[in-house]
């Protein structure tokens, strides 16, 4: 069966450094999609440094989603994202993000994320979520870092109590807003849960779809199951220039689901997270089919908060209908 919707996500590295390639790819896809009955959806993830008016206009016209990297408070962001002269990038990128987002919001669109990463250095990451919201952005994602366990900024099990406390705090803030106004103050990516018309059971079983529905292609044309596997030889699936693709790896991932992963069948959150990140299993537990325990712990907490918030919103909507 041919797929109608095809998605292409430019991220890196920094895709705006290859802007002409991005444009050539998008323009070519647009020129042929109708004749083949396809619908391309492009997304771009950028650190914002090279954004200018021309790129903003193009992104807002062509990209169905865009992800703008910002780690939160100026000092947090600039510590993690220094420019070559040692200064941080916060003051450069925030005005550009505001301009880009205004262009989308003016058209009634909410298809963007301002996305940050939290590390051991900013375990009080709710402050960063609130800071990003205070800048006027309302589609937010702040996610735990993926880093080698011995890296100084890596999150470890010792950090979990603090992280749980922060997720609870964020829930309380959002829930209070729902109670007072009937609406969430902003969207937080990890608390978005669709209890009614969410993904089908098939999707929930097989999870992220890497290696089959989704692959990563490097600048050299090498194909990997996803961006997290890039550079690990045993997971190289093929190359777009030679046309070789190893079906064994695709088949392995097709058979990787919540009933073939260790521990998932006993976990209440299995139909929400769908087995977690395959690459993290490999990188941190040494096995794709063994979910990364630290990620599982955080995921369960987020799902718990997401469900609680969804219930709050439902109750607020029901109350509004009654009045």
């Amino acid at each position: 069966m041919g797929r109608q919707n095809l998605e292409l996500d430019f991220f890196g590295g920094e895709p705006l450094m290859a802007w002409e390639t991005v444009k050539a790819t998008v323009d070519y896809a647009r020129s042929v999609e109708k004749q083949h009955g396809k619908n391309f959806r492009f997304t771009v993830t950028t650190n914002g440094m090279l954004l200018d008016d021309e790129k903003i206009e193009y992104i807002n016209r062509e990209m169905s989603n865009c992800v703008l990297s910002l780690d939160g408070r100026k000092e947090v962001n600039d510590n993690a994202r220094p420019t070559p002269n040692g200064k941080g990038c916060y003051d450069i990128i925030v005005p550009k993000y505001k301009k880009l987002v205004a262009g989308r919001v003016n058209e009634g669109r909410t298809d963007y994320y301002v996305r940050g990463t939290f590390t051991k250095y900013n375990l009080d990451f709710v402050e960063d979520v609130l800071h990003i919201a205070s800048l006027g952005f309302d589609q937010l994602s702040v996610e735990p870092v993926s880093a080698p366990a011995d890296a100084p900024h890596a999150i470890t099990e010792d950090d979990l109590p603090k992280i749980y406390e922060q997720y609870d705090k964020l829930y309380e803030i959002m829930a209070e807003s729902v109670e007072k106004t009937g609406k969430k103050p902003f969207n937080f990516f990890h608390y978005m849960i669709d209890l009614d018309q969410g993904p089908c059971a098939v999707k929930r079983l097989r999870g992220c779809g890497c290696g089959n529905e989704y692959v990563a292609v490097t600048p050299d044309g090498d194909i990997y199951p996803c961006h997290q596997f890039v550079g690990i030889d045993e997971w190289k699936m093929g190359n777009i220039y030679t046309g070789d693709v190893d079906p064994k790896i695709a088949d392995y991932f097709a058979k990787t689901h919540i009933y073939s992963k260790k521990g998932c069948s006993d976990c209440w959150a299995r139909f929400y997270c769908s087995g977690g990140c395959n690459a993290n299993g490999f990188i941190y537990e040494g096995d794709v089919r063994t979910p990364f325990k630290l990620q599982c712990a955080m995921m369960r907490k987020r799902v718990e908060c997401g469900i609680a918030l969804a219930v709050k919103v439902k109750e607020a909507n029901a109350a509004a209908e009654e009045t």
Binding site: Q4, Y214, H227, S274, V303
Partner: protein, 47 residues
Amino acid sequence: MKHIKTINKANLKETAAKGGCGKCQTSCQSACKTSCTIANQQCEANK
């Protein structure tokens, strides 16, 4: 007093029968790069 409220009805069986069409977003894109949550994605089968 009613202590348990049903907030949505189970629909997984129904979606198992007609799901898997592949129209929806591939999962590990956009905001998520390493911590994908499937349950926040939209079904696009009826769009």
